[in-house]
Amino acid sequence: MSGEIACHDCDLLVTLGVLQDGDSASCPRCGGFLTQYRSNAYSRVLAFAISALILLLLANSFSFLSFAAGGAESQITLRETPTALWNQGMPFVGLLVGAFIIAIPAVVLLMLVTLSTALHIGYNHRWLPRLAKWLVHLQHWSMAEVFIIGVIVALVKLSSMATVVVGISFWAYAGFTICFLLAVTSLDKYQCWERVDQVAGK
């Protein structure tokens, strides 16, 4: 892959050398990341995205955390985290949390699957550029990895006063977070846009 890129951070026009599989390029002036070429980008994205979707489904199906103190026990599923906020008088925060940890990642994954499949098989659709643009936008708003750290912090806070048991859903969500991050980082923006152009026949 070669060509010219305008650095996203500083607007310097950079002429790319020929990039081999795995090579990455950074801006010579500001050090900003430009692109990383992967010959099997779309299969990587598909593999990770589909795995992430399956794991997300699993994460929603089992017990996430359970908590026992003084003989009483409480158990929650992943979905109950945002809905509890809704029920406790903070509907907006509940909606936000639900979006950041489940809805937006799921939508991003579905978009990734659609986009990478279309680009892989060379299917030209006028929605492709819009899809790619929205995908880049939404990526920033998925906070799966922040949530996992939040769970760990909550566990530490609770561990002193009660027995907390981590359920299957937690491990599924952890796996989902890893696959999600790998799926999102495997799709290089520059490579993607070049391919969108190519598929559209420009």
Binding site: D11, C30, G70, S74, V93, I149, G150, V151, S160
Partner: protein, 142 residues
């Protein structure tokens, strides 16, 4: 958040949570919360103010250093949500009626607001502006 232990209610601010964690001996976690819930949001706001102001005016930092500042600010953005998630989990999980109950506090909403607004602010900033002055200076010299 509000905790009610055996009927006795207690309101907890983020800083009180940090002190509690230190008392429990979990210093690293306390540091994480203090960093991401207090230092980082304040730092982000100050960094964005600084970056916007120095687009036009002189700055002791080089454009490259300011670019790095911008990238760090952008990266760190979503991590301040960790405290909101902790409250969300505790609210959902700790519902042992009569023994220990947790309810969300007002700060959960305002804190989520801070994270979202600073994220939008960071995304709205065109980092290429940092470099525009250098180009003009170069052209002026020729």
């Amino acid at each position: 958040m509000y905790t009610e232990q055996l009927g006795v209610g207690e309101a907890n601010t983020i800083l009180q949570g940090v002190i509690l964690l230190i008392e429990m001996g979990s210093i690293p976690i306390a540091l994480v919360i203090f960093l991401f819930s207090v230092i980082v949001p304040l730092g982000k706001i100050m960094a964005m103010f600084y970056l916007v102001l120095t687009v036009r005016s002189h700055s002791p930092l080089t454009p490259h250093q300011r670019s790095v500042l911008y990238r760090v600010t952008e990266f760190v953005g979503k991590w301040s949500m960790v405290d909101v998630f902790v409250v969300a989990i505790l609210v959902a999980l700790v519902q042992l009626a009569g023994l220990l109950v947790v309810r969300p506090g007002v700060a959960a909403l305002s804190f989520a607001g801070v994270v979202i607004l600073t994220m939008i602010a960071t995304q709205s900033f065109d980092s290429r502006l940092i470099w525009d002055n250098t180009k003009e200076a170069e052209r002026g010299r020729d």
